[in-house]
Subunit: 882 residues, 2 copies
């Protein structure tokens, strides 16, 4: 019976099977087959590994013989001989499983060296130092991974030697020292193993193969497989490849190149090389490499061949390649090729141009750009080349970078801002009272509050950079300064913030302005052509809506009406409404608010004419519109002790009583959302009237207007039916008064676990629903976002208890499971119901993919995330198609 | 073809079918068949009703003829004749559907009266006044329900007449006036209908039957059926019954009696009667009824027969009966019998004695007592007969009643209490600083905070009455008084509270002490015999545990370890642990706490020897152990303005900074539960060591000890695996140190929606889990209990948006659905896992039934609810068996 084939040469034609040859082995076989000058070699199959492991350390029958045979062929092909004194064949040995996996044995280089062949290598390279350095490294690596001798024993000897020679770097040691080092290393091996370092190359090789096979079952590999659900039975292959050397004279060299410019995407080879050098010479930085273009002069033939190979590789892999090459005595070898890393701008340009070149399809192009990276093109950002002096780190609450003179008071910020000064507003936390200061500030920095704190939400709405919850800065309002990292920053000092990372930096940092290319728009237009999730934006003002439309949003998924209440001119009215002692006072305040809200809605709906707009009725608890109890308490205490104005005292005490009566232990779970609508019907009635009046005006002016009136926080079907009835009555009244037919739907935001469970009932009564995944995440996890992100969440992420921040990426196991249940139940009751998502997850690519999987109709996100969402939505659809 | 039978006499033997005869008709037929002297009559079937309604107001073929025939038999049986001047047959007409239903036509009495027969009635009763009063009432009722004339037209005439006669009550009007009233009423009928009041009795009857049939489809009935899922096709029957009169001389009379004493349960007929009277004479209160025993003298034969009938009825219905009877001219008639209402004490005694008499089975006895009512036997309560002066109403936070002199300060409460004064502690809200005052107080009253506020939880734990969240009382600490209902209550004034209803009352109210009978224990012992849910108690101290064991708890389902931290002697240590500047300080505080906790656990475990004890590791956020920011702020402001002690100021400022750094926006969703265990591992490690040390001591002393170490608020499997490992390591260490084998399990409280969804993963890693339905309700609904119960929840219940408070009764649609999912997933991963519930729902009978349905192993509740839970658990099992 003929034994199985366990060993394949790279140029064998029988198989390129990744499961059998491992990923690396298959790739080497492919490169060889497309005619690339890959240093020849062979792959021992995963099957051999599995039989070895099953057979208690016995190589399978026939493996050794096959290996011998293939080595003979290799000697023939290379003209070198394994163990030959003059012209020794040296190989590298690498593991290579079907799925890339850390924890496996890595690499042994220069296998085949021994006391005799090292001299041959010295002669061949004319570099004794190099040959002995290779040898001592080989002994070190081999001892570590095959013989199990601790590295530090060798490192200690090397360190001592450098100390004795008073040199700092390895390469400063002369050849004689390296010879001595090899001798010392071999003594260590004898001491630790009781045997001499193996001199017979084939024995070296067999032991190395055993070590690779054995490493499949080391602890780290087993744990990694368990965590990542990789089956234990895959096994690993072993790749044995001829060593080549770029330091064999001036007809040798080594280099690295990209097939296109990785910074700009321009179609021109980009890279550098060194004549008569090894790869590690580049790393050591002793000599300055030449730009790749010079190779055309130094080695015109080689350059020509290299350019040709670049073409072949791009054509084969359909992507820009990052290629390592070596020239050994006038012969070019390709050591490695892989997709090249690139900037986002380059990624877009390359993808679009490759479509235009006919190299890839539009669909492939869409999958080539990482959606999240688009963000860096949309905001001003810190120049990656700039030196930064980070003094503290907070939460990345609103993307973009800014610098300015620090100011601790909103009024002062406003005054300075209006005079043209660049200011950065620094507050412990912001409240609606600070909004006028935020409007003029370059950015906002707060010491407290999470990603959904007032500062964060308002800044994101304004598209302004914000770092929130930066507990490391200690603000002292009285002396108008903060301390951070032991340093004091006074009013007027320049500070920079990076809202994308949460970094706070001293001084003015160099920044890069955003710029959108034609390719960017081309790519996104292609994205829109892919059938799948629609993309809307969350926008609270006509300006936001316009920005969203410019970025390609097809509608608004969330208008938060409370932000309108918080504007400087509205807040006093909102407060008057809340503090009203009787119905008449309340009605008067509401009447004024209605006029303003009608204008707000008119503006937004007009900008979005032709697209649907989802307007959420008032959501936050009423106490958010009032001053904070603590400040009132300090004022009252002060007024009492200083015998202050009696009337002011009485007014403050009355206000405090109201604040207290409205205050809540857990506002997130309190008297908010549709609960307000139920208990204060006049507020929602006012808002509904404002919406329908605005719609009627626009329809009369010839606009096409569709609204979705959204009742927040429904958890009980009766909340929905009750409030829907009220809204419908008002719509009926406006239609009757104006004679205009209004195109509107009533629905709810699903943001409570209970709502997910009764989504069938909700769907039966609704025209749409959207997932408010911020709150749904809070309730499903029992996490208060404002608290968690500043307290235990970072530790949870660090300890691996959570792999992602669930407020950034939808938690599929919990929150996602509830969403899935809700979609199923909702569609079972009303298959045609429109379902969207408007939480922050709506702009997160991973979450968008999930939304596509469970069958949502659209995602909605902040205007600046719309491009990301468009691309991510297209990718989700394309991936699912595969 | 013979037509269907539409009319059945009460003594017809063909059918007793409730669906055909309605509930009332079937009952009358049954009573007749067991030989009771029921006034004869007939029932028109529900089928007739349905055909009438389907046939657009036509009586079905044959109905009128059958009715005529049965009336003839009725005349024959009674010796009276319909429409006869001298001896008229009078009947009542009543609706009677298969399921009792409000909204249907009620009752018409004395049908058959007309201008002639009224004179016959006057003669037969010798009471002209009575006869004409019957007639005018008949006209009124008939006009209302048959002719659709508004009642107020008749009432206005009657009122005017009384005004003219200057009398207050109807019965003060003489016969002549009533004659005149009849004439006036008939004029109203002519005026409103254009026709005279119908004089022909059979016509009266047919119109009344039509009215009953028609009422099946009136709006109120339709809505009621819809709400209660009663099918529309059932239809209603009509009962026509001979009128009997107890006012026909001294051989007549009327009365009401219970077959046993409804207050005590004693087996002796209990009731009262009046000779020569109608039922309404008793109501009018003109004459004082005689006790039923006197009937033995007044009418010995009748009494003897009545006693015999009581026996027959009890035997037939297997329950104590509440019987209405009338004697007409020496003949006893039973008008109605139904299960008698009774006190809880009576219910228990009757049920137990009936088992002993062989009248009912133990299972029947168990279903006879309403579990929730047991509560009144277990706590001191307001004497129902007492006059109360309610000044405010808060939340029923901890059952029981108390009175005492009001005190606004815990220190003062403690001082007075120790001197033997009865005090009631009144606070805006309580904090751990108030516990020493609560210990000595008779009860606690707070103006803020819900059913899970500090005051409520601690009071329930202590078994002390508490009314919380009583926003109607306005406390002024400075002047040591509160106002309520416009009245001022000063320190030292006596106030009573009822923790079962939330009432706050002025003065000392008479109270009833709890008392448990032997029958009570007998019944509960029977309950324990029914296989089904086990019952454990929540207990935090050895005293609670002992109380729980006395009440029959078979283990502890929840030991809250934080209450131990809050005890007066522990709190400073807990604070020192939290405020520690370094590891050493923290370790020192923890070491002292460990000694105390070990003793706590030792005491509880010893009391519960032989039963499992589930100990939850620290759950609340750490800031709960610190003073409140607001008070510190006032102190600091004061110290600053008054140029106070600099050191004190610095200390307070430092403390405030720490309080602030720990403070949370939504503590319910904050840094608590196992999140503390993850971030401050030393706390849980200390607690685990205290538990295992205590266990080891007890095992060495010969006790049998089983613990369940509960990790609260797990939402993520890695939290569980991480903390379980730590706990297990400590158990291993203690076992190694002591040589004792510890019987313990590690598990979690499932109180987050996410935990329900991953219950399979949790079960795979746990020995048990228990539902913490308080928090699960908060997160599923997105309700902060403390906020909701004081704010919108009452309105939600009133408006019918919620039918039950979900914190009292498990919301099956949302929270229950998640529990069902968790049980299914949990048992799919580990079928034998122990699953319990330890939220407040564990003591609520409706919720206990649900827990049985979804297959939990046990419920756990506060000690005082254990008897309720034992009975409810048995009932749940018995009902499911049916």
């Amino acid at each position: 019976m003929q034994s199985k084939t366990y060993v394949y040469a790279f140029d064998a034609t029988e198989t390129k099977d990744k499961m059998l040859l491992g990923g690396k082995g298959a790739n080497l076989a492919i490169m060889t087959s497309i005619g690339l000058p890959v240093p020849p070699g062979l792959t021992i199959t995963t099957e051999a590994c599995n039989e070895y492991l099953a057979g208690e350390g016995q190589f399978p029958e026939g493996l050794e013989a096959q290996l011998q045979d293939e080595l003979r062929k290799l000697e023939h092909d290379t003209g070198k001989v394994f163990g030959d004194d003059a012209n020794p064949l040296l190989v590298s040995v690498r593991s290579g499983a079907a799925i890339s996996m850390p924890g496996m044995m890595d690499t042994i280089l220069n296998l085949g060296l021994n006391d005799r062949t090292v001299e041959g290598l010295a002669q061949a390279t004319g570099d004794e130092r190099f040959a002995f350095d290779c040898y001592r490294r080989f002994i070190q690596m081999y001892s570590d991974v095959v013989l199990g001798i601790e590295q530090y024993e060798f490192e200690a000897i090397l360190t001592e030697l450098k100390h004795n020679r008073q040199v700092q770097f390895d390469h400063e040691l002369p050849a004689a020292d390296l010879r001595q080092l090899v001798a010392s290393f071999k003594q260590v091996v004898v001491k630790r193993t009781g045997q001499a370092f193996p001199q017979e190359p084939f024995e070296q090789l067999l032991m190395a193969v055993r070590a690779v096979f054995g490493s499949w079952n080391n602890q780290r590999a087993i744990v990694y497989r368990k965590i990542n659900n990789i089956p234990d039975h895959l096994g690993t292959a072993v790749n044995v490849q001829t060593m080549v050397f770029g330091n064999m004279g001036n007809d040798s060299g080594t280099g690295v190149a990209f097939t296109r410019n990785p910074a700009t995407g321009e179609k021109r080879i980009y890279g550098e090389y060194l004549i008569n050098a090894q790869g590690e010479d580049v790393v050591a930085g002793i000599r300055t490499p030449e730009p790749i273009a010079s190779l055309a002069n130094d080695m015109p033939k080689i350059y020509e061949e290299f350019v040709r190979i670049c073409g072949i590789l791009e054509k084969h892999y359909h992507d820009m390649q990052d290629i390592e090459f070596t020239v050994e005595k006038g012969k070019l070898y390709i050591l490695q090729t892989r997709s090249g890393k690139r900037t986002t701008a380059a990624a877009i340009r390359i993808a679009v141009e490759m479509v235009q070149e006919g190299a890839i399809t539009k669909e492939e192009a869409l999958l080539r750009v990482e959606p999240a990276q688009l963000d860096q093109l949309l905001h001003r950002r810190i120049d990656p080349a700039a030196t930064v002096d980070v003094i503290a780190k907070g939460l990345p609450a609103s993307p973009g970078a800014a610098y300015g003179a620090i100011v601790f008071d909103a009024d002062e910020a406003e005054a300075l801002g209006q005079q043209g000064h660049k200011v950065l507003l620094v507050r412990t936390e912001t409240t609606p009272d600070d909004i006028h200061g935020m409007v003029v500030a370059e950015g906002v920095l707060t010491a407290r509050g999470g990603m959904t704190s007032h500062a964060a939400v308002v800044a994101r709405g304004m598209g302004k950079p914000c770092v929130s919850g930066c507990e490391a800065i200690k603000i002292d309002y009285a002396s108008e300064q903060f301390t951070a990292d032991g340093r004091v920053f006074k009013k007027g000092d320049i500070v920079s913030i990076d809202g994308a990372t949460g970094r706070v930096m001293a001084g003015e940092i160099k920044m890069i302005e955003p710029e959108l290319s034609a390719d960017f728009n081309t790519l996104l237009a292609w994205a829109d052509e892919v059938p799948g999730l629609g993309v809307r934006a969350n926008a609270d003002t006509p300006a936001d809506a316009l920005k969203a439309r410019e970025f390609g949003a097809k509608g608004i998924g969330l208008v938060r009406t409370e932000h309108m209440f918080m504007a400087t001119d509205r807040l006093p009215l909102a407060q008057r409404m809340i503090l009203a002692e009787n119905k008449e006072e309340r009605a008067a305040a509401l009447e004024q608010l209605q006029v303003m809200q009608e204008d707000d809605f008119y503006g937004i709906l007009k900008v979005m004419s032709g697209y649907p707009v989802c307007i959420r009725l008032l959501d936050p608890p009423l106490h958010e519109f009032l001053p904070q109890a603590e400040q009132l308490l300090v004022d009252i205490t002060t007024l009492k002790l200083t015998d202050g104005d009696k009337e002011e005292l009485a007014a403050k005490e009355a206000l405090l009583a109201k604040v207290r009566s409205l205050s809540e232990f857990n506002p997130m779970l309190g008297h908010r959302g549709c609960r307000l609508g139920v208990t204060f019907p006049e507020i929602y009635q006012m808002q509904a009237r404002a919406i329908f009046n605005a719609m009627a005006r626009l329809v009369q002016e010839g606009h096409q207007v569709t609204t979705e009136v959204e009742l927040p926080l429904v958890g009980n079907i009766k909340e929905l039916t009750l409030l829907k009835q009220e809204v419908t009555q008002i719509a009926d009244a406006v239609q009757a008064e104006t004679g205009v037919t209004l195109d509107y739907h009533v629905g709810t935001m699903i943001e409570l676990p209970r709502a997910c469970l009764i989504a069938d009932q909700i769907a039966a009564e609704s025209g749409f629903f959207t997932f408010g995944t911020n709150d749904l995440t809070q309730t499903t996890f029992g996490f208060s976002r404002d608290d968690a992100e500043g307290k235990f969440l970072p530790q949870y992420l660090e300890a691996g208890i959570l792999t992602e921040n669930p407020f950034a990426v939808i938690d599929r196991e919990g929150v996602g499971e509830l969403m899935r249940i809700a979609v199923e139940r909702g569609r079972s009751a009303k298959p045609e119901i429109s379902i969207g998502i408007c939480g922050e997850h709506g702009g997160n690519p991973n979450s968008i993919e999930f939304c596509h999987e469970i069958g949502l109709d659209y995602v909605s996100c902040s205007p600046y995330r719309v491009p990301i969402a468009r691309l991510a939505a297209a990718q989700a659809a394309l991936k699912k198609k595969d």
